[in-house]
């Protein structure tokens, strides 16, 4: 009997602290675990008793990479509770700030976290010694996303301008002028990015995934839509908890999420793309086709291409929204807190982010539930590790270990996000 253990005790180039282990015995993988040891921070617990209006600022602190996602899920859930629907230009500005976050987060992952794997560098700084122009382009794209977030949000990390009902302050039409050149450059640079990443060497690896994402009748999804999958799921967001379940596993600080009916599922850019290709802008679709990429992709290593296509879309959409912008009469919609509960799901850069709040008659939060994308992908990540290792048992161990790391990084996991909902589960015991 021959046993091999692949063990990495601190996975690099992901946001947060995780380890993983794969145990192989007699050419069979007997265990594949993502061991998330990031300490839990108990957000749901200390949201209790806080005023509803604090939710967007407090939940933003769950993640420094995708604070807008937390703010967007929080405000939409609370507005649903209070029976308010934010429309028109305020709705457009919310899409716009989300574009900034997708660009910033995707550029970070594509250039600084993921690309070095394909080219065999330990990091982007080392990659820059050989490919300085490519890394500089990536940093400049990232900067354009940050500029958009800072313009609308005040700053790129934990923006200060988002509130339940809208914004504290909205820009005048002319205020956008300094951004336009940067965003137009970014759109072209994102197209170049797609052409570049499409030429990277990809391992042959496809699985039968169940992709889950929002789907809106005519837009690529950010804040609205039904939850759909390629295996027949088609539900309203408020039915989320009827179909998805979370469970604790002894080796991880993050709960594992699964579909009650079918188990593991896959959220994020690849899921959005497979379920919404025809809703991408004509330019984004055209660039995809140009590099020979169709509407279906089941190779998670190629998520780097999909992230790049989504960057093209985000720049394109941002420019469209800015062109159509007229300042709204009020920066926010008036609302009246009431005892109610509300939920929302939005598309964080890494996939669907679900929030539910129960509010009392004074506007205080009685209960909060948050399900971030990374906890939803954990099972699929483990299944990928298992499948990849079983298909590549003859690969030298150091190389296989690096491939396992890459298998996890395909999902751009955000560990900081994934550990923050532990409290609710514990209280149910």
């Amino acid at each position: 009997m021959r046993t091999t253990n692949i063990l990495v005790d601190y996975l690099a180039r992901v946001e947060g602290e995780t380890a993983f282990s794969v145990k192989v015995r007699n050419k069979r993988v007997i265990e594949a675990h993502l061991n998330i040891f990031e300490p839990p921070r108990f957000f749901e617990a200390f949201l209790r008793g806080r005023s509803y209006h604090e939710a967007p600022d407090i939940t933003a602190r769950i993640c420094g990479i995708c604070p807008v996602a937390y703010q967007m899920s929080a405000v939409h859930a609370l507005e649903q509770a209070f029976g308010v629907h934010v429309e028109g230009q305020l709705r457009a500005l919310r899409r716009l700030i989300y574009c900034g976050e997708w660009i910033e987060s995707h550029a970070l992952h594509v250039y600084l976290l993921h690309a070095p794997d394909f080219l065999g560098y330990a990091d982007a700084m080392r990659m820059a010694r050989v490919h300085p122009d490519i890394v500089k382009r990536g940093l400049r794209i990232k900067k354009a996303g940050n500029a958009l977030m800072a313009f609308l949000g005040g700053r790129e990390i934990h923006p200060i301008n988002v509130r339940v009902g809208g914004f504290y302050h909205v820009p005048a039409k002319k205020d956008f002028a300094p951004l336009l050149e940067q965003l137009s450059w970014g759109r072209e640079a994102a197209c170049e990015t797609v052409r570049w990443v499409a030429r990277l060497p990809f391992p042959e690896f496809t699985q039968e995934y169940e992709f889950v994402a929002l789907r809106h009748p005519d837009e690529y999804p950010f804040n609205e839509g039904r939850l759909v999958s390629n295996q027949g799921l088609d539900i309203a967001v408020n039915e989320y908890e009827d179909h998805f379940l979370e469970e604790q596993v002894p080796y991880s600080h993050a709960l594992h999420s699964r579909l009650k009916e079918r188990g593991a599922y896959f959220v994020g850019p690849l899921a959005r793309y497979n379920l919404n290709f025809e809703r991408l802008s004509p330019l984004a679709q055209e660039v995809a086709r140009e590099v020979g990429f169709g509407p279906v992709c089941r190779n998670p290593f190629q998520s780097i291409i999909v992230r790049s296509i989504e960057m093209v879309y985000a720049f394109d959409e941002a420019l469209r929204l800015i062109e159509a912008y007229e300042p709204p009469e009020q920066p926010f919609v008036d609302l009246h807190p009431r005892a109610a509960s509300g939920c929302a799901c939005t598309e964080a850069p890494r996939g669907i982010l679900y929030h539910r709040y129960q509010i009392d008659e004074q506007g205080l939060i009685r209960e909060a539930r948050i399900v971030p994308p990374t906890s939803q992908n954990q099972k699929t990540i483990e299944e990928d590790l298992r499948a990849y290792v079983e298909q590549h048992l003859d690969t030298p161990k150091a190389q296989l270990t690096w491939r396992c790391e890459q298998t996890i990084r395909n999902y751009d996991p955000c560990i900081s996000c994934s550990t923050h909902f532990l409290q609710l589960h514990l209280e149910q015991q």
Partner: protein, 260 residues
Amino acid sequence: MQRRAKKPTLAVWKFASCDGCQLSLLDCEEELLEIASSIDIAHFPEASRAEVKGPYDLSLVEGSITTSRDAEHIQQIRRASRSLVTIGACATAGGIQALRNFQQVETFISAVYATPQYIQTLSTSTAISAHVPVDFELRGCPINHRQLLEVISAYLQQRKPAISSQSVCMECKLRGTVCVMVAQGIPCLGPVTHAGCGALCPAYQRGCYGCYGPKETPNTTSLSARWKRLGTSERDLLQVYRTFNAYAEPFRQESEAHES
């Protein structure tokens, strides 16, 4: 023959946090490559799978101490670091997760210990300075990446960082923002909050909510009296000081003054 001096080494460490402050280092977009060319980034797992063993000339520490394992780890980091700088509200004040410190008897902590075999956590979240000596504390939730660049440059040149310890009010004046509290009656924590953000919130028609923590010698009692005249309840005043820097001493004391 003259030998090239060895480049100074930089290490970045993470404890309980959102990752945002170390992301600020990657947000130094074009400066990032310049930093990388003048210093040796020896330990920065969020950005690199390469690792150089210590000792390190400068360690940047993000996050607060919430587990016994981390309490030991920070001791090792201190021993391996010539200078140790904490970045952000978690590392300098315990962060928002320090809200647990006020609720030790409440159910959510005891519930954690109901499954000790799964979860290892301390009942408190504490600043790095509660465990080891710290050479400099950079404030903010999140930190300002311009200030981070200044701190890194200062330590590499072995000088004191030029970081203002004034209040947010001073930054409003410098920026030319009309005072939102005086002109519009919007409650604002600016007078007691440490500068560094550039006075963002008032520029967006919003009162400061204190994410940079207390300034030196803040008069929170006086500010709270002003907030009350603007109609803020005792209950809300308690919450106002209990956010991202809740366990920084002046904010902790002021929040406790409003406990009923």
